[in-house]
Symmetry: C2
């Protein structure tokens, strides 16, 4: 009887785990802040080498004004289907002062840093590796983990002499954290080299219960920075306070009209286009392990925004999140002034059915109804003197949500593979809470797409002290070893 793929990969990482960690750490030490093009090019070059070393044919393509993508393939004899693998190698900006370790040092820790874990030396061939160790770095979980996991799984199968069952095509992007502004151009241009029966992404975390999960969709994204204007320059608040309009107070007043105290967005029409929940959705959600109490304890808060709300229910709806506020200064830097302007940064996560442009239009209409003249640039001196209520709305690039049927062959094969790889129950999630530009795979590559997360849920994605738990990297390797040897002929489309 042939060995199971996950047994092959386990044996491989028992022996070579220290080398896997070392190779991953060297990738994480290349800074990857989105928009930093020189750093991103260095990442692309390193990733090209990583997969060429595993026999793939891979090319770095760079369109004018865009961060490079990697496109490539790794074929096999008698492939049952072609599976596309999408990964993004850029990461969110880092505020170094708020990290407890260097964001690009790839520090290995004995556990969660916020729980007082100590630094651990990288292992050598004689060291036993504790799966509760964590590697801290921007990109450790979001989204360099799948690169390391796939590379190690390929090594494991080769070492064991085991044939792969699928052809792979690759698309690795370098500006997902900037909203993927050029992914459509890349996909359009490279479409002939990206033909696949199914695309897989490994972005985002596994379920909060630590069970593996497959997400059959992801929310879309729309967002904006909104600036209100007061006097042309900061004014002494004693001499002018409460006569001259205060943009910080007016911004607070406007934001308060966007959401009620029960957590419902009150921008007219906000929920109008969201698909109603189907019976299948309802059943899937009801089958999800309850996570609320554990999450509250882990994340450090006393109760949800909307009292009694189910976590998974909330992901089926669009969200309105104030991700930042700024006006003049607070604390020891505070000055007794009327601020000259005040800004809120907002992200909206879109549910299936919501259109990003329509959502922004509703915000603009809501501003208009509150008496604001909405500009796309800073106001001129004349505009400041002509309009009592002035706002600047700067939209972020957005995209719609995607969901695929949970009773399809794709779904069945993926859930089975995750189950074999992990030996655990698998969570079937109707939609992922985070945003991924899945619509491009549907529209431009004409293929279904699903998300198989690898990283731990407490990975501090997008925040200081991002990390990946070693046990999750190990799961990623076992998962890829399993996928690479799975018969995907049921989803073959031609």
């Amino acid at each position: 009887m042939t060995a199971e793929a996950h047994d092959i990969s386990r044996a491989f990482r028992d022996e070579h785990g220290w080398e896997i960690l070392a190779e991953f750490a060297s990738l994480l030490r290349i800074p990857n802040v989105t928009g930093e093009i020189d750093d991103l090019r260095r990442n692309a070059a390193a990733i090209k080498t990583l997969f060429e070393d595993r026999g793939a044919s891979i090319e770095v393509v760079e369109l004018q004004g865009a961060s490079p993508v990697l496109v490539g393939e790794l074929r096999t004899a008698d492939a049952t289907a072609t599976v596309g693998v999408y990964v993004h190698y850029d990461g969110q900006p880092v505020d170094q002062s708020r990290w407890r370790v260097g964001p690009f040092d790839a520090t290995l820790m004995s556990g969660p840093i916020h729980a007082g874990a100590a630094e651990v030396a990288y292992p050598d061939s004689a060291t036993e590796i504790d799966p509760e160790w964590r590697i801290y770095a921007r990109g450790a979980s979001d989204d360099k983990t799948p690169l390391a996991a796939l590379a190690a799984a390929l090594d494991a199968l080769v070492m064991a002499g085991r044939e792969r069952s699928i052809d792979l095509v690759f698309l690795f992007e370098g500006e997902e954290e900037s909203g993927s502004p050029n992914l459509d151009r890349y996909m359009t241009e490279l479409a002939p080299r990206l033909e696949a029966d199914l695309w897989l992404l490994c972005d985002g975390p596994v379920h909060q219960s630590r069970l593996p999960q497959v997400a059959f969709g992801a929310r879309g994204y729309s967002g904006f920075d909104l600036t209100f204007y007061g006097p042309e320059r900061e004014l002494h608040s004693g001499h002018y306070g409460n006569w001259v309009p205060n943009p910080a107070m007016e911004l607070a007043q406007f934001l308060a009209t966007c959401k009620d105290s029960a957590g419902a967005v009150t921008i007219p029409g906000f929920y109008d286009d969201t698909w109603p929940m189907s019976d299948a959705d309802r059943s899937a959600i009801d089958a999800l392990p309850p996570v609320e109490e554990t999450l509250q304890e882990e994340l450090g808060f006393a109760g949800p925004e909307l009292e009694g709300a189910s976590y998974s229910d909330r992901l089926m709806r669009p969200s309105f999140n104030v991700r930042g506020l700024a006006a003049a200064a607070v604390g020891s830097e505070g000055r007794n002034v009327i601020p000259s302007e005040a800004t809120a940064s907002v992200d909206m996560r879109l549910a299936a059915g919501d259109d990003p442009t329509t959502m922004l239009r509703r915000v603009v209409a809501h501003l208009g109804a509150a008496g604001y003249v909405v500009l796309e640039a800073d106001p001129t001196p004349e505009q400041r003197r002509a309009h009592r209520r002035l706002a600047r709305l700067t939209p972020s690039p957005g995209y719609r949500a995607v969901r695929i049927p949970m009773d399809s062959d794709v779904a069945r094969l993926l859930l089975e593979a995750c189950g074999r790889a992990s030996g655990m129950e698998v969570v079937a999630l109707p939609t992922f809470g985070g945003s991924i530009p899945l619509y491009l795979f549907e529209d431009l590559l004409k293929a279904p797409v699903a998300v198989l997360p690898i990283a731990n849920h407490d990975n501090n994605q997008h925040a200081p002290d991002e990390n990946v738990r070693v046990a999750n990297l190990w799961y990623g390797i076992d998962l890829w070893a399993t996928l690479l040897t799975t018969d995907f002929s049921a989803v073959r489309r031609s």
Copy 2:
């Protein structure tokens, strides 16, 4: 006939204006950010020399943990009364990136920098000085101008052989911009050396109409930083947005309950203790030159917070001003997170009758009514998990407002002196909008106190590009020459 004091001072500054500007500039080049004790000591030493050079006896006194004060006197034969002079030599913090000139370079400009003025070389004895020139520096208007004006006025009288009519006592403070936390200790300790029939302050700007003014009071101060708490660390807004509470949105919602859209503060009891406006107040206010349209044009906004509100009316009431907001980040630094905390910094200007502690208590009660547990420190992990709504309120030191009768001898003499010095109509202001700890003069020094501003109203006090117009410095010199030769026997108290 004896020459008028203001003619003496005019002749003096016609000849020595270039030396006055040079001496003032050297004082402004000593950084004076409040709280920076070493810099403040250098200022104190320089000011001591400035007045010792004019024959004053002056001492630097420094209490433990406080910024130094200067205390001193300059007596004359046959003085009609003793006048105390209070000045503060510290300035607000500077955000250098937002200044168009170095905040401690004392750059001389041909006019207002925001209107495109060019730098001007400091004059020599042969240069004609344009009174529309401005000196840019932190402290140029708030509050080093009176030091330069008084020193030059003393020189002018000595040069002309003119006797002074009053004894002077001095109290120069170095932490007014930190809320004068030790002024009471200093006044209590130094009271025997601070006996005077009347205290004068020259803080704040002249009237917006550019007419000279006397303020018969100033508003008090109370303020606080208010922080709301969300999850223990920033969370990915896609995975957790609109399930985990967002402290930025909740802060906006709370602030919106503090003020209505017409600009009325809606914290229960906020206006309860404010003295009602008397007929005399009403008449004084009605006699003030209208400034609203000019101010809107100059300050760059289209209309007041409360439509149709009179500027001077608003100063008779307490204010609630959001001086700063902060949560995570906005703009290019923005991250897709639920902020872990959000802070608003608020200053309240108190009208006569309001008590600073009571006002803070009303804010705390309003937070309590909204369901917040109010702490004085950051919450513990246990508190975060126990209370759905947590706030930290950090109060700033505050004090009450002061007003003195407008039909007193003090008022008459000061209005007459300003009129003679300027040759203009004088604005009689029932209260100044800014906050000055006048109550200490009443309570600890048992003397009436009035405010005679010197600086131009568009001086960017507390903001980047603070400046003083040379014409205003000239007025300050003429004012002090006049005050020093005025018969103040009508206000003599012993």
